[in-house]
Symmetry: C2
């Protein structure tokens, strides 16, 4: 089976910062704050749509467990996955100032989410700083990825993605060496601005270089140091 516990060797992964996961500054705070509020807890099945662009928005959603993707669509049908989201991420903040959602949020896994009605939020002003912090954080994360996509090769982008995910896993207490990807190669490619074949090839090359081990969606990071070196340019 899959080892989900953090192990000592994981520490070596953590100094990673390009692009940094910048663990949400207030997950614990936010969760404990929400515990005292009448949030509705809901289970969402794989492939289920939590909300879609244009739907009227009354709530934010805190991911308590599971794996989400958010994506936007252009009028002419081009799609872009704007992020993959784990426990502690807040979905819907990007449309905080708008009457309707600005992206689609789709579960890649069986998820548990906590629904936080905006009305509730307005009644709880001590939550606001958390929201602005998460907004600002999202901007910085997006910038880091724009930097990565604009300046890194295909192989480096894939490496950056794996290291980022590993760091986020680690900060949630999971293993940073064993990753179970919940998205398809096509989705990964979409996020990294690559074709799915290119993602596959990059993974294969990283694997044959001994940096990782690939078994379908199960990835094991064999040599985090070398992976990070590759990112910095050999």
């Amino acid at each position: 089976m899959f080892d989900t516990s953090a192990s000592p060797g994981d520490a070596a992964l953590l100094p990673e910062s390009i692009p940094s996961a910048e663990p949400s500054p207030c997950l614990q705070d936010l969760e404990s704050l929400l515990r005292n509020l009448p949030v509705q807890r809901r289970r969402v099945q794989r492939k289920q749509v939590l909300f879609r662009t244009g739907q009227p928005c009354h709530s934010l959603f805190l991911i308590h467990a599971g794996f989400f993707k958010t994506c936007i669509l252009s009028e002419d049908g081009r799609e872009k996955i704007t992020g993959f989201h784990l426990r502690g991420d807040l979905l819907g903040i990007d449309s905080f100032d708008m009457p309707s959602y600005a992206c689609d949020a789709i579960a890649l896994d069986t998820c548990e989410i906590w629904e936080l009605p905006l009305a509730e939020l307005r009644r709880t002003p001590e939550l606001l700083p958390h929201v602005t912090a998460m907004l600002a954080n999202e901007i910085r994360r997006d910038w880091r990825w724009m930097l990565a996509l604009g300046t890194l090769s295909a192989e480096q982008r894939v490496a950056a993605f794996l290291l980022d995910l590993a760091t986020r896993f680690a900060s949630l207490g999971f293993s940073a060496r064993h990753l179970l990807l919940r998205m398809t190669r096509a989705e990964l490619g979409n996020f990294l601005a690559l074709q799915l074949e290119t993602v596959t090839r990059a993974l294969s090359r990283l694997a044959s270089a001994g940096l990782i081990n690939v078994d379908g969606r199960e990835i094991r990071i064999e040599n985090p140091t070398a992976l990070r070196a590759l990112l910095a340019g050999d």
Copy 2:
């Protein structure tokens, strides 16, 4: 000289929405709110640094006139321009929740900026919604550009950039047909994830197709409809 007044034909440009400029929802409001506060007005010369990554941040800056770029830098020296900013844009919000700035802000022009101390902001809670709105707006803008950079050809990206700038100009009351670029081809390329030569070539091709007219940094949009058609894929 340069025609800076909006003309009737500009209306044709406005329906553009990929990537949309989404005019900041509250420029007028924000400016008039700030008029009553003790904001410090300052002039910034071309190439001058307004703030740099890591500097302690005590203020946000509202651009009242001029043209800015913001950029981030990775440890290994890769640089990325995260945006070009005009009147009405608020610089520094992305580090709202942090003790220091998260990017560099550099004037591309002689600018006038209004400095808004964070202490002042905390004393004026009615400003907060404006800030969150601008944060959320920035996220959506970034996503649109991620979509564009991930799915459009070089020529299309340049077209998208010109149309975006035109729309923003128009919403400020300037001409949407005559653009005076304040950035170099290299900076434009950096933002669009292209080499400067590729930007030049794209501009040349758009020009020889009669869609625009290029004279150094002075661009005239001759055929907005065709430009937008090109964006949607011929």
